[in-house]
């Protein structure tokens, strides 16, 4: 199949990651512009369900189901994806800019002699000439970049592409490939357990900063009242008050929920880089000059320990 757009899909606990559907949306857009076809690649052990889920979006799916891929190692996944790219004569390789996408894609690019545009927030250019828009300097500038190599690798920021919808015409076929032995070994994974929605996928996010002094009780209560995910600033995570996984910002998670509530967060540029794309931003801070207020649709200058309990009660009332 000539001129394919290879989508590296991600499965998590047997299910397709939502971010993959955003990457699929970008891949489809490229396919339309370059008259190509999207081919999905999914790897892991016991990925039948996820492969079918992807196929239900009209994608021809190559499934590399093997114990060799039970854990994602950039080395082996890089070999696999490069092999699949060659077999399908891919001109683009696309993945979501998740921790896995970021880890694996450059290795694929190096094997294919391709340039890689990372954390892409939009496509531009004319017709079959696809350029990529990406943030630089903590989002202080948006660059338009060109990948000059015949094969182009792209990781996309999931929040910037609406998840692709279901479609017919998909299929699943086995893809067998044995990577050469990895120099890396998986040892263990310590998950952050939470019953709350995933930060990058939540409709609402309540984030706390250093102003909370490490007590996230109110942040969590408010989040639960809203069915929201919990986020944090770097200061909170560095102090060990909350897990790393909750950091929102330039170097943490990028979120774009319908509602983002920043509590006791000053609004450093690095934090803004991770939440400026939210639809509605609320800031609660006792310092009227905190930069967070410049991006907030609704700012409340107040002591969080006083007003957050009121806010929880009011929202509760507003719902019933």
């Amino acid at each position: 199949m000539a001129n394919s757009i290879l989508l590296i899909a991600e499965a998590h606990e047997g299910k397709l990651k939502k971010a993959t559907l955003s990457a699929l949306a970008a891949a489809r857009e490229i396919a339309v512009r370059t008259s190509g076809n999207v081919v999905g690649l999914i790897a892991g052990h016991g990925i039948d369900g996820a492969a079918k889920e992807l196929a239900a979006h009209g994608v021809r799916v190559l499934a590399a189901d093997s114990a060799a891929f039970a854990h994602v190692l950039a080395e082996t996944y890089g070999q696999l994806a490069a092999e699949a790219a060659k077999k399908t004569e891919a001109t683009y390789v696309v993945a979501a800019a998740t921790s896995i996408g970021k880890d694996v894609m450059p290795r694929v690019a190096a094997r294919l002699g391709a340039g890689v545009a990372s954390d892409v927030i939009g496509l531009s250019g004319e017709g079959a000439t696809v350029h990529f828009r990406r943030a630089m300097w903590a989002g202080n500038a948006i660059a338009t970049v060109e990948v000059t190599t015949p094969v182009k690798c792209v990781t996309v920021r999931a929040t910037e592409f609406a998840a692709a919808s279901a479609a017919t015409g998909g299929s699943v076929e086995a893809f067998s490939f044995t990577p050469s032995a990895a120099k890396t070994k998986f040892v263990e994974f310590v998950p952050v357990k939470s019953a709350r929605p995933e930060l990058t996928e939540a409709r609402a996010v309540v984030s706390g900063g250093r102003g909370t002094k490490g007590d996230f009780t109110l942040i969590e209560q408010l989040a639960d009242e809203l069915g929201a995910a919990v986020g944090a600033s770097r200061a909170v995570v560095d102090a060990g008050w909350q897990p790393n996984d909750l950091q929102v910002g330039q170097t943490g998670k990028v979120v774009a929920p319908q509602l983002y509530i920043a509590i006791g967060i000053s609004g450093a540029i690095q934090h803004l880089a991770g939440m400026k794309g939210s639809k509605t931003i609320v800031a609660i801070n006792k310092d009227a000059d905190a930069p967070i207020f410049q991006v907030a649709d609704y700012g409340l200058v107040a002591d969080l320990f006083k007003v957050v309990p009121e806010l929880i009660a009011e929202i509760h009332k507003a719902k019933v």
Partner: protein, 268 residues
């Protein structure tokens, strides 16, 4: 053990970054430069590992203009042993792209033969987060990206300046910050490790060390001498300012806030 650490000269993250009127790049006049903060974390980790496994050596490598010698010198003042500058004069849109940097570093590494290469996970200018991974593939080495540790930056372990990366029996054991939690990898040396924010708090250079650093050697190399074609695989065509948000509205109290969220923003 020989540890090589890469350091990139970048615009200071505290500077105000503005796009040039012709959209070709950002305004660099009057903007301070410094070492990429992630790279400083890499230097700190290298120093801790070195001091725990003497005799060892920490070599700092930077690819960039002559001015990047300043950032190498800063790393030497933190305690690193010597420096290598791969001199490249292109600036702005003609700067090295991550791929060219990775291929230059590959050649330096093939000469230096370190046991471990530590790098920042991303540079805060182009925010690409790809150079370490590209380099690992070019070298055919294992990689552990986004190195972190389980203890917080305010823990006893950190106060005691313990390394977060464990070097044992020819491998590096690394905790990584990944989506959904922390992952532990064991990677055979030589390897590439890229570091995240929670690995350590970098030290400040002491005055005596700043003086000592002045005498430490910095070798100069060039892309030509290394036989590397620096043609970019990713070219920046233009840059623009991000869309501004029309924020700034304040509400007097919680009741007003909730009412606006309900009727105006319609998000609750």
């Amino acid at each position: 053990m020989k540890i090589l650490v890469t350091v990139k000269r970048v615009e200071d993250y505290e500077s105000k970054i503005k796009v040039k009127p012709d959209k070709s790049w950002i305004v660099t006049e009057g903007v301070n430069c410094r070492a990429n903060p992630f790279d400083e974390i890499a230097v700190e980790e290298a120093l801790r590992l070195r001091d725990a496994a003497m005799p060892s050596e920490v070599v700092i490598v930077s690819c960039g203009s002559a001015a990047a010698a300043t950032e190498i010198r800063s790393a030497l003042a933190m305690g690193a042993d010597r420096g290598v500058l791969v001199k490249f004069d292109g600036a702005g849109p003609q700067s090295l792209d991550p791929d060219a940097a990775a291929r230059l570093l590959q050649k330096v590494i093939e000469k230096e033969k370190p046991d471990l290469v530590l790098m920042g996970k991303q540079a805060v200018d182009d925010d690409s987060n790809v150079t370490g991974q590209l380099l690992a593939e070019y070298l055919g080495w294992g990689q552990a990206t986004f190195a972190s540790k389980r203890e917080s930056l305010e823990s006893e372990e950190e106060k005691a300046k313990k390394p977060g990366i464990a070097i044992e029996g020819g491998t590096a054991k690394v905790w990584r910050e990944v989506d959904g939690g922390l992952e532990r990898l064991e990677v055979a040396l030589p390897a590439i490790v890229t570091v995240d924010l929670r690995l350590n708090v970098p030290r400040y250079a002491s005055l005596p060390n700043i003086m000592k650093a002045k005498k430490k050697p910095i070798d100069e190399l060039s892309p030509v001498a290394l036989g590397v074609d620096t043609t970019a695989k990713v070219r920046v065509l233009s840059v623009e300012a991000p869309p501004a948000r029309a924020g700034g509205q304040k509400v007097p109290d919680v009741a007003t806030l909730v009412q606006k969220l309900k009727t105006e923003a319609k998000v609750i």
